[in-house]
């Protein structure tokens, strides 16, 4: 069976394999036999090999060197290109993340291939599905030059275990000077959250301008916690200082596609819809019956979020 290289996306500081990698391994199986590629700082692969094999990796290529973490993106792209040139895979699948897309782009130039970003599905013949224009248009595309490179949008494919051999193969790493220009001098965590990450969560509860203050966002957090959900915020809420930008959902923030999206006090302007329109189920809570968000919602409550949300949280918690 044709080999498909899947670049592993890992959690920082030895936190294991991200769910997006398991999704990518699953998606890759549509077009061939996946091999996982771990390009990371020394000592990383040991902790993730088994998880990769569990989701179908026939081979786990391990390319470890300190430069990988010391310089931004370029070393990863360079090592991946070397591996692609060596192994001539049928395709390369990379989890979509800011870094993943940048690696895919640089790889495409290096190997003279085309690439497709944020695909939600890859068919056996290599045709990929993408969603354009804030979820309004579904597009099918193919790569027509070189080795197809895909970045897979998070939360689009359900990871399915499939036992793979997981045979470890060390890859020698040589990073050129050209890849050592952008130096990472610090990694700073400003908010530690025990909640699921926005783009990975199966439920997202978002607050908008209607929440009215940073303090009041605690009721959004309360509802999110009762559902084990991630918290999101509209641009209006972020611009007003109610919640940090890293939780912004929308055109200039994150795009999410969870099972359930609860929009609280969010009017539903196109810039916001761009970030959540493809969520499977959408619930809106807003005191304005004319709010455009209701056009998208499977279920809507016209009411004061300050009453409805805490009541709902209480009832959900009571049911547990």
């Amino acid at each position: 069976m044709a080999e498909v290289l899947v670049l592993a996306e890992l959690n920082p500081a030895g936190g294991g394999v991200r769910k997006t990698t398991l999704e990518a391994l699953t998606a890759a199986r549509a077009i061939g036999e996946p091999s996982a590629v771990v390009i990371a700082a020394p000592g990383t692969a040991a902790g993730v090999k088994d998880a990769l094999a569990e989701y179908g990796a026939a081979t786990v290529y391990v390319a470890e060197a300190p430069e990988i973490d010391e310089f931004l993106v370029a070393p990863k792209a360079e090592v991946l290109a070397q591996l692609v040139q060596e192994k001539s895979p049928a395709a390369v699948v990379i989890p979509s993340s800011p870094e993943g897309k940048e690696v895919a782009a640089r790889l495409a130039i290096k190997i003279g291939s085309g690439f497709l970003t944020d695909v939600t599905e890859i068919a056996a013949d290599g045709t990929a599905t993408q969603v354009a224009f804030a979820g309004q248009v579904i597009v099918h595309s193919k790569v027509t030059a070189g080795t197809p490179i895909y970045t897979l949008r998070g939360n689009s494919v359900t990871p399915e275990p499939a036992a793979g051999a997981g045979a470890e193969q060390a890859v020698s790493v040589s990073v050129s000077d050209a890849a050592k220009l952008a130096k990472v001098t610090d990694r700073v965590v400003e908010q530690k959250s025990s909640r699921p990450e926005l783009t990975e969560a199966s439920i997202v509860v978002s607050g908008g301008r209607g929440v009215a203050s940073a303090e009041n966002f605690s009721i959004i957090e309360g509802l999110a916690d009762s559902l084990g959900a991630a918290v999101g915020a509209s641009r209006a809420a972020v611009d007003s200082g109610f919640y940090p930008h890293s939780f912004q959902v929308g055109q200039t923030g994150k795009t999410v596609s969870p099972q359930l999206y609860v929009a609280v006090g969010i009017s539903g302007a196109i810039q916001h819809r761009a970030g959540m329109q493809t969520s499977k189920t959408i619930v809106a809570i807003n005191k304005d019956p004319e709010a455009p968000i209701f056009e998208l919602a499977d279920f809507g409550v016209i009411g004061d979020l300050n009453t409805v949300v805490p009541q709902a949280t209480e009832q959900i918690t009571a049911r547990k």
Binding site: A77, E102, F115, V143, E190, A312
Partner: protein, 259 residues
Amino acid sequence: MNIVVLVKQVPDSGSERKMDPADNTVARAAADNVVNEIDEYAIEEALVVKEAQGGEVTVLTVGPDSATDAIRKALSMGADKAVHVSDEAIKGSDAVQISAVLAAALGQLEYDLVICGAEATDSQMSVMPALLAERLGLPQLSGARKLTVDGGVARIERQTDGGYWAVEAPLPAIVSTWDTINEPRYPSFKGIMAAKKKPVETKTLADLGVDASLVGQANATTQVVDFAGRPPKGEGVKVTDEGDGAQKFVDFLAGQKIV
């Protein structure tokens, strides 16, 4: 300090955006076109650096004739001059191809810093800085929420989930910005008037020394096979809270097996 700012004219996401069934490309001619929103932050950042360090800001865009609107916006904010690459043959090009055109155009300019927006609203690929860094051998300082330039070194705070990475590189470098980096200024009336006199150079592929066989849809590295409007969601259920709104919401979740 010579700075080049890349801007892109895109269909307004506030209007209905379409694909053209004649050739499966983005319908750009029919759309209301605007400057890509995040590019305004890139223009502002370029102006901030110029005001601190001295020098010149050149706007560069690849686009059809209507892209002059994007150029005019940047010039009225305070950019000094512009280069507009326009050529029929470029129509339908993909990101890989456009990056070749931009790289060729940059090759004809002198710069210490290239600044662009981190993402365009039409494709949302967020890859141009990486493509250009790769083609031009420039350090990639992408996804910035903060930029400082000092003594020939550019330092950014690269936005991440829950924090940032501090990344630095010697100039020349390419920096891309998010909308968290600054507050773009509104062009003043004086600025708008002054923009009309600022030099705008138009270049074709031949001026750049780029062969037409490298660009255009027929030579693209990816192709759209087909597209369709996403089926609209059916009519949802709406209830008015009369003390029971929360209950009905929770019942709905139970029906969906979420609680």
